[in-house]
């Protein structure tokens, strides 16, 4: 029997290690509230946004390469679960009021699409240049587990994709011409 090459778990060179907190569950999950307006006044306290890794960025490290070996799947670090994810599109940016008007589509559950306003404070410095009409972003509300404690957190991340290449644009032009050549008008009623 020919088995397909597996694509479920990566082979690790041993450099990814795991943390294994035992999660103690809170007595009650905080309720999720649909987002319509996110502004400075609704931001939770700042330390909820710190990523654990940012505390240890500047530790000295020794480069070391070990031969590849089959990794224990448990070595993959993971410490969150989404409560809701919206895919948002920027409709308009009001730099004066420092907000962006957005359309939000929930990715979990059957929640109607809606529009809202998001304070530009929520956009990270590295994403500020991406804030333009038509830009897509993801707003994730998630439950974050760190060293046994659970917190609700939010993250807003803009979509980044490569730019159209000259080759692709050329192909699009050709395809568009071909499509157009097939379009025929229907008769009309008076």
């Amino acid at each position: 029997m020919n088995l397909p090459i597996p694509t479920n778990f990566p082979i690790a060179p041993g450099l990814l290690s795991s943390t294994n907190p035992v999660v103690r569950r809170q007595s009650e999950d905080p309720k999720f509230v649909p987002v319509l307006k996110i502004s400075r006044s609704t931001l939770p306290s700042s330390n909820e946004f710190l990523d654990a890794d940012s505390h240890t960025m500047n530790q000295g490290v020794k480069n070391k390469f070990e031969p590849p070996m089959t990794v224990d799947f448990r070595a993959i670090r993971a410490d969150s679960t989404p409560l809701q994810i919206w895919e948002g599109t920027v409709i308009e940016v009001d730099h004066k009021a420092s907000v962006m008007h957005v359309e939000l589509n929930a990715k979990i559950g059957q929640i109607p699409r809606h529009t809202g306003e998001i304070d530009l404070e929520w956009v990270t410095e590295q994403d500020k240049d991406l804030v333009n009409p038509g830009a897509v972003f993801y707003l994730t509300l998630y439950k974050r587990t760190e060293r046994g404690s659970i917190q609700n957190s939010q993250e807003l991340r803009f979509r980044r994709r490569p730019s159209w290449s000259a080759e692709q644009l050329d192909q699009i032009d050709k395809d568009a011409a071909k499509l157009l050549s097939k379009m025929k008008a229907l008769p009309t009623s008076v």
């Binding site: 359309e103 159209w164 644009l169 192909q171 699009i172 395809d175 568009a176 499509l179 379009m183």
Partner: protein, 234 residues
């Protein structure tokens, strides 16, 4: 196990709605075994087009489908439409006349997956249909999509939209998401209100049906008039 039942009788008009929501696909029996399909959705179990499966199960010959219309390009209304079009190669295929335009076809081509990774399933489906056909028909306000004498009545399917006044606005909106040098490859969001969607009026010679998708709420407005009586479903 779904009991699809028997096909409609020759003198029976039948409108069947399919979909996870409010009728993402419709099959209309116009009479005497003549069918029209509007949009498409996929049965999540079989992964086949829901309306295509329905017609197959009730024993409709593929040639009996006279017309397939894609009212607009959004994913939720055209999933499986390329499959449907392949199943019914003799049916006339119509889409919004907004796409009878160089920039609009470029928009479709850019988001279809033919020249980049697929950014819109809907665009991909329409692109594949158009590519695979000799001709595709452009429907706008007052276009006659289908005309026939059935059961002694003049049956006429006319498009009521898009109107020409909406073309420029639709194309201007698509232009925001067209492929350009130095512009990141991004999906095109499904903009609302949908100005390019095709609304259909089916005149059955006495009765009439109005089918509209994505024209605001409800998603499908189905007005069946028998004298003064009418019904709205959606």
């Amino acid at each position: 196990m779904i009991d699809y039942g028997a096909p409609p009788a020759d003198n029976e008009i039948e409108v069947t709605l399919f979909g996870p929501g409010y009728g993402e696909a419709i099959a209309v029996h116009l009479g005497e075994g003549n069918w029209m399909l509007v949009d498409s959705c996929i049965d999540p179990e079989s992964k086949a087009s829901a309306s295509g499966t329905y017609l197959e199960k009730i024993g409709v010959d593929p040639k009996q489908v006279r017309s397939i219309i894609a009212t607009h390009w959004h994913d939720d209304h055209v999933r499986g439409i390329s499959q449907l079009a392949s199943k019914h190669p003799t049916a006339e295929f119509s889409i919004s006349a907004v796409f009878n335009d160089r920039e609009a076809t470029a928009f479709l081509a850019a988001h279809s997956g033919a020249s980049s990774s697929g950014l819109s399933r809907g665009a991909k489906e329409l692109f594949e249909v158009i590519q695979g056909r000799v001709n595709v028909f452009a429907a706008l306000n007052r276009s006659i999509v289908l005309e026939a004498t059935l059961n002694g009545h003049q049956v006429k399917v006319t498009a009521l939209s898009p109107v020409k006044a909406a073309f420029a606005q639709s194309i201007a909106r698509m232009a925001q998401y067209m492929a350009r040098k130095d512009r990141p490859i991004n999906s095109a969001p499904e903009l609302h209100p949908n100005l390019e969607a095709v609304t259909l009026h089916i005149d059955l010679g006495g009765d009439a049906i109005l089918l509209g998708a994505d024209r605001g709420r409800p998603r499908y407005l189905w007005l069946v008039s028998r004298g003064c009586r009418s019904m709205v479903v959606g």
